[in-house]
């Protein structure tokens, strides 16, 4: 019940999984959205899946840089 000590707490990692998920959703959403918009604009069909895959790939890369190196 004493909480005045230990000023340097260990970082809580219990939310990391959810943050990774939010990154994945964000990446897929933004690049998929860009692909969707380009498809509409250019009248093409393939840019939405390309955008989704690109977003997922970039997000994984980002997660690698962000969490994989420490």
């Amino acid at each position: 019940m004493s909480q005045q000590e230990d000023p340097k707490p260990t970082p809580n990692t219990s939310g990391d999984g959810w943050r990774v998920l939010s990154y994945l959703i964000g990446g897929i959403l933004i690049y998929g959205g860009i692909g969707f918009g380009l498809d509409r604009w250019l009248g093409t069909q393939f840019l939405l899946p390309v955008g989704i895959v690109l977003g997922a790939g970039l997000t994984i890369l980002l997660l690698h840089f962000r969490y994989g190196q420490s």
Binding site: M1, P9, N12, G15, S22, G26, L61, F65, R66, Q69
Partner: protein, 260 residues
């Protein structure tokens, strides 16, 4: 309920969450509002009573209050925000945690048995409040540009990749976070309640209206399964309250961080 009238089984769906107003004509006064209001009264009453004496040697009530308060203060707020700034956010995080916890657990309490957060409005308001707070303190500390730089420029990424990463960071940190925060809580409560309804209503239908002894036996088993599901749901309800508050605290901590 419908099963009592027609002999055909009606699977539970979103329409089961449309509750009539408690007082006819007062549309805003629904069961979730009543439950949430009672939970606020209960939380304030309990913690006021527990902390009132602020004794060095705590009574049993104060000890229980301290246990809950310490959990949010130390295990959630201090760990996620850091010992420098966390005290400012303890009141909000405490209120948030016990509000979500009580309203989630209310789904398991007999007579109440309705999860407030299966109405998404509650989840939205909690998520928006957290979003406003973590962006607000971040902008106040770093300035608008400094804060955007903090939230959109991931450290350790090669320079040529940065333009591709900034949109992802922005979307996930500013846009997806409140949505996922609210949807996660809502969906868990909503799905949990539907699951429970399926087992309870289905078991009841099989037991009373299917018209065969074998099916009645299956109904009993289904109801027992429903009991187990209710236990599982109790666990999920607590976990979801914890997740919501931990993530809110981590977003605040991230917004206040000096660098990634």
């Amino acid at each position: 309920m419908i099963a009592g009238v027609s002999t055909e089984f009606n699977p539970p769906g979103p329409e089961d969450f449309q509750l009539p107003p408690i007082i006819p004509g007062v549309d805003w006064f629904t069961k979730p509002v009543l439950v949430a209001g009672l939970s606020v009264v209960l939380i304030v009453w309990f913690f006021y009573g527990a902390s009132r004496k602020s004794a060095i040697v705590p009574s049993k009530l104060q000890f229980a209050g301290e246990l809950g308060y310490n959990f949010v203060r130390n295990s959630i707020a201090r760990d996620a925000i850091g010992s420098q700034d966390y005290m400012k956010f303890v009141p909000y995080l405490c209120g948030l945690f016990f509000f979500i916890l009580l309203n989630n657990v209310a789904a398991t309490i007999p007579l109440v048995q309705f999860p407030t957060f299966s109405h998404i409005g509650w989840a939205y308001s909690a998520a928006i409040l957290s979003w406003v707070i973590y962006n607000g303190v971040g902008i106040r500390k770093h300035g608008l540009l400094g804060y955007l730089k903090l939230q959109t420029m991931p450290a350790g990424v090669p320079l040529w990749l940065l333009p591709l990463m900034i949109p992802i960071e922005f979307i996930s940190n500013i846009v997806v976070r409140p949505i996922s925060l609210s949807l996660r809580l809502f969906a868990n409560m909503f799905a949990g309640h539907i699951l429970l309804l399926v087992f309870v209503l289905g078991g009841e239908y099989l037991l009373l209206h299917a018209g065969s002894i074998a099916l009645s036996g299956v109904g009993v088993i289904t109801l027992l399964m429903g009991l187990a599901i209710a236990g599982l749901e109790l666990f999920v309800q607590c976990i979801q309250a914890y997740i919501f508050v931990v993530l809110s605290a981590q977003y605040i901590g991230g917004a206040l961080a000096d660098e990634h």
